[in-house]
C-alpha cells in the first residue's frame, strides 16, 4: 500500500465510521470489494489482476455457503445477498469500456462477456457441488482447494508451472513464466481466515453471519494486505454492534494510523536502504558492519510489519472494529516463548489453535505413551515449520521455522529444569536484573540470527552470512 492508498482508505473509513450502522455495513462491504481490485498489483499475465480479486470473492462466497448455519442457500434472501458481490464484479468488469483506463484495476479488465460467462460457470459449478455433496465432504473439498492453491502460490516451481499454464492459455510467452507472476493480493491472510472458518465448522461451530457480513470479515480492507487474522465471530460481533465514531475512537485511531505511517514509511523504508539483503550479503565484508546490516534488517522487518498493523488497527478503530493486536514489543522479551506470544500474534495463535493443540492432544492420547519432551518437540517443530512455510515453501523458510522450533524446545526444557531449582533460591533483585538482561540479550540475538535464514534466498548464502558474522 502506498501513502495515497492509505489516505484514501482513511477518508473512506472516516466517512463510513460516521454513518449510521444500517448504512455502514453496505459501505464497508462495497469498500472492501472495490479495495481488493484497487490494491491488487498488476501482473504480467493478462487479466490476472482482475481474476485474482474475483477469485477471492468467489472463494469467500463458497466458504460462506458451506459453513452458513441456515441451509437455505437457494432462497430469495441468499439471492439478494449475492447481488452486491456480482454487482461489484460486473461494475469493475465494465470499467474496461471507460476511457482512459479507470483507476479501479491496474490494467484493463477482460471483456465483459468473458466475465459474465466465467462467473456464471463458477457459480453454476458451486451450486451443483453444494447440492450434490454433503457438508462434511464439501468442507474437506474447500479445505483442500485453499491449501492446494496456497501451496501453488508459495512454491516457486509449482508457481512457475502454473504461470506457464496461464501464459499458454493467454497466448503469452511461456519462457518468461515465473512464480512472481502470481501476486495474489492478500491471499495468505484470506486463506487463513477461511481455513479458520472451515475448521471451526468441522468442529461444530457454524456461523450465522450474512454473506455481506462474512465477505466484509474475510476481505476487510484495512487488514487485507498484512493482517491481522481476526476470528469471524468476534469480527461480526463488532460489526453488528455498530458503534459510531466517537472523539476517543477518532483520536486513538488517528494516533495508530500516524504511528503506523511513521513506522512503515519513515523508519522501515529508511532502514530498508541498508538492511541485509541478498545483494549486499554477497558484497559485504566480514565483521562489524555485517552485524549492523543484520540488526538493521531486524528493526526494518518489525517496523514494516508493525507499521502496517498499526494502520489496519487505526482504520478498524474508525470503523468500529477492534482488530486484534499483532505485536506486543516482541524484541523486548526475555525468552523465545514470550517472543512468539508477541510476534505476529494472530498467526501464532492460529497455528496454536489449529495445529499445535490438536497435534499434542492427539499424541498425548495415543496408545503408545510418548515422553512429554517428544510430544513438545514434535508439536513445536511441526508448528514452527508450518509458520516458516506459510511465508513461502523454500528451504530457508523451513530452516527459519526449525531454528525457532529448536529455540522454543530448548527454552521449554531449560524452564522445566531450572524452575524448581530457582524456586528454592532467593535471588537478590540485582541478580534478577542481571539474569533478565542476559535472558533478553540471548533471546534477542537468537531472533536476530534467525533472520539470516529468513532474509536470504538459499542456504548457501545464509551460511556465508554466518561465516561473515563470526569470521570463521
Amino acid at each position: 500500500m502506498t501513502l495515497l492508498h492509505i489516505l484514501l482508505l482513511a477518508a473512506l473509513s472516516l466517512l463510513a465510521g460516521s454513518m449510521k450502522p444500517r448504512w455502514r455495513g453496505p459501505v464497508l462491504l462495497g469498500g472492501s470489494l472495490l479495495a481488493i481490485y484497487w490494491l491488487q498489483p498488476a501482473t504480467p499475465i493478462r487479466n490476472l489482476d482482475f481474476w485474482f480479486p474475483t477469485a477471492s470473492i468467489l472463494l469467500v462466497a463458497l466458504v460462506w455457503a458451506i459453513t452458513y448455519e441456515k441451509r437455505e442457500l437457494l432462497s430469495r434472501q441468499t439471492f439478494i445477498q449475492v447481488i452486491p458481490l456480482a454487482g461489484v464484479i460486473l461494475v469493475v468488469g465494465l470499467t474496461r469500456y471507460l476511457e482512459p483506463l479507470c483507476c479501479l484495476t491496474p490494467t484493463r479488465p477482460p471483456a465483459i462477456t468473458q466475465v459474465i460467462v466465467a462467473v456464471l460457470i463458477v457459480a453454476g459449478m458451486v451450486t451443483l457441488v453444494l447440492i450434490r455433496f454433503n457438508q462434511r465432504n464439501l468442507t474437506i473439498l474447500a479445505l483442500l482447494l485453499l491449501l492446494v492453491t496456497f501451496i501453488f502460490l508459495k512454491t516457486d516451481s509449482l508457481g512457475q508451472a502454473l504461470s506457464a499454464g496461464l501464459r499458454r492459455i493467454q497466448g503469452q510467452d511461456v519462457t518468461l513464466a515465473s512464480a512472481l507472476d502470481l501476486r495474489w493480493l492478500g491471499f495468505s491472510y484470506l486463506a487463513f481466515r477461511l481455513l479458520h472458518v472451515l475448521r471451526d465448522f468441522q468442529l461444530g461451530k457454524a456461523h450465522n453471519a450474512s454473506l455481506g457480513e462474512f465477505t466484509t470479515y474475510a476481505l476487510f480492507f484495512p487488514a487485507l494486505t498484512a493482517g491481522p487474522i481476526d476470528r469471524s465471530q468476534r469480527f461480526v460481533g463488532d460489526l453488528r454492534e455498530g458503534s459510531r465514531l466517537s472523539p476517543d475512537s477518532l483520536l486513538e485511531g488517528g494516533r495508530r494510523i500516524l504511528l503506523g505511517v511513521f513506522k512503515k514509511f519513515v523508519l522501515a523504508d529508511s532502514l530498508a536502504i541498508f538492511a541485509l539483503n541478498p545483494q549486499n550479503a554477497v558484497q559485504m565484508r566480514a565483521g562489524f558492519w555485517t552485524w549492523v546490516l543484520l540488526y538493521t534488517y531486524t528493526l526494518c522487518i518489525y517496523f514494516d510489519f508493525a507499521g502496517y498493523t498499526d494502520i489496519a488497527l487505526g482504520l478498524g478503530r474508525w470503523l468500529g472494529i477492534k482488530l486484534p493486536e499483532n505485536f506486543a514489543s516482541p524484541y523486548f522479551k526475555t525468552n523465545l516463548t514470550a517472543f512468539w506470544n508477541s510476534w505476529h500474534i494472530t498467526l501464532a495463535q492460529w497455528f496454536r489453535a489449529y495445529f499445535f493443540n490438536p497435534v499434542t492432544r492427539f499424541l498425548r492420547s495415543s496408545s503408545k505413551q510418548l515422553p512429554v519432551w517428544l510430544i513438545i518437540l514434535a508439536g513445536q517443530a511441526g508448528t514452527m515449520l508450518l509458520i516458516g512455510l506459510w511465508h513461502g515453501v523454500t528451504w530457508n523458510f523451513a530452516a527459519w521455522g526449525l531454528w525457532h522450533a529448536a529455540g522454543l524446545f530448548a527454552h521449554n526444557r531449560w524452564s522445566e529444569w531450572v524452575r524448581p531449582r530457582l524456586a528454592i533460591l532467593e535471588m537478590p533483585s540485582r541478580l534478577q536484573r542481571v539474569v533478565s538482561l542476559t535472558s533478553w540479550l540471548l533471546t534477542f540475538h537468537y531472533v536476530v540470527l534467525g533472520w539470516v535464514w529468513f532474509a536470504m534466498p538459499d542456504l548457501d548464502l545464509s551460511i556465508s552470512v554466518f561465516h561473515k558474522l563470526f569470521r570463521f
Binding site: F274, R285, V292
Partner: protein, 366 residues
Amino acid sequence: MSRVILKGLILFVVLTLLPTFTNPLPMLGRVSAYNVLFPGRLRLPYGDNPQRAYNLSLFNLEAMFASHELSAGQKPPGEYRVLLIGDSATWGFLLKPEETLSAQINAAGYNLPDNRRLRVYNLGYPVMSLAKDLLILSYAVRYQPDMIVWLVTLESFPYDKQLFPPLVQHNPEPMQRLILGYKLNLNPSDPGFIQATFFDRTLIGQRRALADLVRLQLYGVLWAATGIDQDIPENQGQHMEDLPDDLSFHNLKAPLKREDLAFDILRAGISETGGTPVIIINEPTFISHGTHSDVRYNYYYPRWAYDAYRRLMAEESKRMGWNYDDFWDAIPAEEFTNTAIHMTPKGTAIFANLIAKEIIHLSNAR
C-alpha cells in the same frame, strides 16, 4: 480537540515556511555521519542507481564534501596534500575505489624529499565542464591543499558545455558569484540555472533535497560495509573504433581559435587557488586506428580540433606561466574502456605513475 488540531496546523505551517527564510540546506549538508560513524568516501558522491551503487547524485556541495574523506578532521602534519580536479576519468568511472588515479598514487606510498607523505584526494566529478571544475575547486581550496592537479580534455573547453551540468545548474548562487567575480565569458542569468520559487524554498518544496541528504547518510552504512560506491556492469561496452565521417566539433569552425575555448575559466581556477601550485594536465585520450581515423582521433574529437587545442593549450600555458603537461597519447589504445577517456585499471596505473612523477618534480622545484 479543536485546540489540538489548531496547534497542529500552526506547527505545520511554521515548519513548512521556516526554510524559506533560513535556507537550512547548506548547514544541514555539513552535518554528516561520514568520517565519524563510517569512513569518508574516496570520491564525491555520484550515482544513477543508488540501490546498486550505494551512492547517489545530489547537488548539495556542502554535503558532498562532508561525505568525502577530505573532511576527516584536521590535515595531518606530515601530509603533502594534493587535490585532483577533473571529469569522470579522474573520478574513476567503471573503476573500483581502489583503482582510481588518486587511490593508485596513494597505494604507491610516495614520500617527498622533506619526508612529507604524498596524499592525493579524488575530487573529480563526472561530466566534462571547466565551470563545474571551477565550482568544485572553489569549495576544495578550504581544505589546505599543497598542490592542485587539474586534469582537462578538449571536451571540457567549449563554452556551450560550461553551464549544462546539473551540479552547476542547481548551484546558481556560487556559480554566479564566480562568473561575476572573474568576469567569465558566461551568462550569469543563463536560463539553465534553477531559480527556486517561493514554494521550492518551503519544507515541502525542499523535500527531495532533504531526502537526498538523508539517503546519502544511509548509503554510508553500505559504503562502509561493502566498499562499493559504483555500480559497475559486467558488460561495460567498448569505445568506438570505427568512426563517423564527421568533422564537426560543437559548432566551432576550423581553425580553432583561442577565444573558442574557455581559457578564462582555467585562469579563474588558478586565481581561485590563491597561489597554491597547480599542474594542468591534458588527460590521455583514445587514438583510433579504425575507419575514418584519418580525420578523427576518436568519437569525441576530429583531428583538426584536437591538434589545434593541444597547440593552443601549450601556447596559453607558456604565455601564462602554467605548469602544463600533455599526456594525450601516453596510454595504449587497448587500455581504454567504454569511452575515449575512461581507462582500465592498468591504463589508470600508468597514468597515475606519470602524474605522481610530475607532482614530485614540481614539489621539489618549489
